[in-house]
């Protein structure tokens, strides 16, 4: 069902956790659907310096969360905002059809965290 890469990220998720005093926080999904992803990140000079995730969800949800943190770490905000959920799925070697719409929200979570950061910036 799942690709090896999905299983790898599910078994050894990268960047699990929560950054204390993050620059941005993004959370998507809701428990009714069975998937919640929470991204915290630190940004320095328009670059994602650190990123961590916490996820309640199925294997695909965990793996997409994990891999997206790898994909955007060290990237500029513009680069990170350009990454789509579909690209995340691709990076994992594809996802089962049934997982594509409900468990593939990791990029959205990152975008939400970046937007949270940008909003705070404009407020300051």
């Amino acid at each position: 069902m799942y690709s090896e890469k999905v299983i790898d990220h599910f078994t050894n998720p990268r960047n699990v956790g929560e950054i204390e005093n993050p620059d941005g926080v993004g959370q998507v999904g809701n428990p009714k659907c069975g998937d919640i992803m929470r991204i915290t990140l630190n940004i320095e000079n328009n670059i994602i310096k650190d990123i961590k995730f916490k996820t309640f969800g199925c294997g695909a949800a965990v793996a997409t969360s994990s891999v997206v943190t790898e994909m955007v770490k060290g990237k500029t905000l513009e680069e990170a905002l350009a990454i789509t959920n579909a690209q995340v799925a691709e990076e994992l070697g594809g996802l089962p059809e049934t997982k594509m719409h409900c468990s593939n929200l990791a990029a959205d979570a990152v975008h939400a965290a970046i937007k949270d950061y940008l909003k705070k910036q404009t407020k300051v």
Binding site: F10, T11, K54, T55, F56, C58, G59, K99, S103
Partner: protein, 393 residues
């Protein structure tokens, strides 16, 4: 890796004795049972022997058994067939919120096509109330369907009592006994039923075979037309090897049930008690004791999601199932757990272990050793658990 199969409610391995017998009818005695020649007659005889093995196991007459391609088809035949045959008498149907999809979806199809449907609720243990059934009956009620034991939470329904009411009122009563067969006594006389569904692959028989018990005198319309097999109730060349295997599986089950169920009950309670003791924030779904199938364990493990539990167990060779939407590809978690009043997030974190013939205490101990670690790992990853812990502290 050691594999531990704890998903017997999904399907069972075929008993080696059953498989061997079937093999003979695939390769050697392969005639069409409708044929008059030697090859056909041999098979016909074995097929009728199987019919009496099945009939004996549920206290029926041979002429009351119609073989189908499985439990799903038998449910459809019973419900669509009874509804169509009685359309002139009335259009009201009654069922419960925790039926298998084979029952529920068939009723919903009928409800979209001119019938009226009442879906009864269940209590927090997944039990239907006899009173609710009685109250739902209308003058135009033509069919009531209540499952014997639930496939997700193992709750055993008060079938005999409901059957008394339906018999008094002269309303057809269908019971899906797919999960109870082979685990607790299923006797069509004691249960007062008119139509009863059973399936072979849940009792160590082959997949693709089932049967509908149709009480003598009860008229239902067939679903499938053609060669007039099964007294015209189910046309199509009979799956003779499958049916013969099902017959044998019934015979074996009837010999082994008493002892096996005692063993399974013990393992079941060991697993339930172990999980409740070793893991925090866990809820047992379904009743305890006699009202629960001997082989069913269903728990909700809060703050984690079912599929990732399954996946983690699977990596250790443990096969279970979950009520998570993620395992079915739909968005909603188990309709059974929701009907029992669970919230979506708790339902998402549910896990079913269904025990079977080969399981041992060792298997249970292995699960009890590994599951807490898995839960810990996943909770550490869960944004819900963090919050819950903050709130608690």
């Amino acid at each position: 890796m050691k594999y531990i199969y704890l998903d017997h409610s999904a399907t069972t391995p075929v008993d080696p004795e059953v498989a061997e017998l079937m093999m003979k009818y695939y390769v050697e005695y392969y005639g069409n049972p409708s044929s008059v020649h030697y090859f056909g007659r041999q098979v016909k005889k074995a097929l009728e022997e199987a019919r009496s093995q099945v009939a004996d196991f549920i206290g029926a007459n041979v002429s009351e058994i119609t073989f189908t391609s499985g439990g799903t088809e038998a449910d459809n035949l019973a419900i669509q067939g009874a509804a169509r045959a009685q359309a002139k008498k009335g259009k009201h149907l009654i069922t419960t919120a925790i039926e298998h999809h084979a029952v529920l979806d068939t009723f919903k199809y009928l409800a979209k096509n001119g019938y009226e449907l009442t879906v009864l609720p269940v209590d927090e243990d997944g039990l239907v109330s006899v009173e609710d059934v009685a109250k739902a009956i209308r003058p135009d009620t033509i069919l009531i369907s209540v499952m014997h034991a639930n496939n997700e939470v193992g709750s055993i329904q008060p079938i005999a009592e409901i059957g008394k009411i339906t018999r008094e009122k002269g309303i057809l009563f269908h019971v899906d006994a797919v999960q109870s067969l082979g685990k607790i006594p299923v006797n069509v006389q004691d249960l007062n039923v008119d139509l009863l569904t059973i399936s072979s692959h849940k009792i160590y028989g082959p997949k693709g075979v089932g049967a509908l018990y149709i009480r003598k005198g009860v008229k239902i319309s067939p679903l499938v037309f053609g060669g007039s097999q099964e007294r015209k109730m189910r046309s199509g060349t009979e799956n003779a090897p499958g049916i013969i295997g099902f017959g044998k599986a019934c015979e074996l089950a009837s010999q082994r049930m008493a002892e096996e169920s005692k063993k399974l009950t013990k393992l079941r309670d060991m697993l339930i008690d172990g999980i409740l003791t070793k893991i925090e924030h866990v809820k047992l779904n379904g009743p305890r004791g006699d009202k629960r199938l001997p082989n069913n364990v269903n728990v909700s493990i809060k703050y984690v999601e079912g599929e990732s539990l399954l996946l983690s167990l699977d990596m250790l060779g443990i096969a279970a199932s979950s009520g998570s939407a993620c395992t079915s590809g739909s968005l909603d978690p188990s309709h059974v757990l929701l009907a029992m009043g669970l919230s979506h997030e708790v339902a998402h974190g549910s896990l079913r272990f269904s025990l079977g013939r080969q399981n041992t205490e060792e298997d249970i101990n292995y699960v009890l050793q590994e599951l807490p670690k898995i839960v810990d790992r996943l909770r550490a990853m869960s944004p819900l658990y963090a919050k819950a812990n903050c709130q608690n502290s």
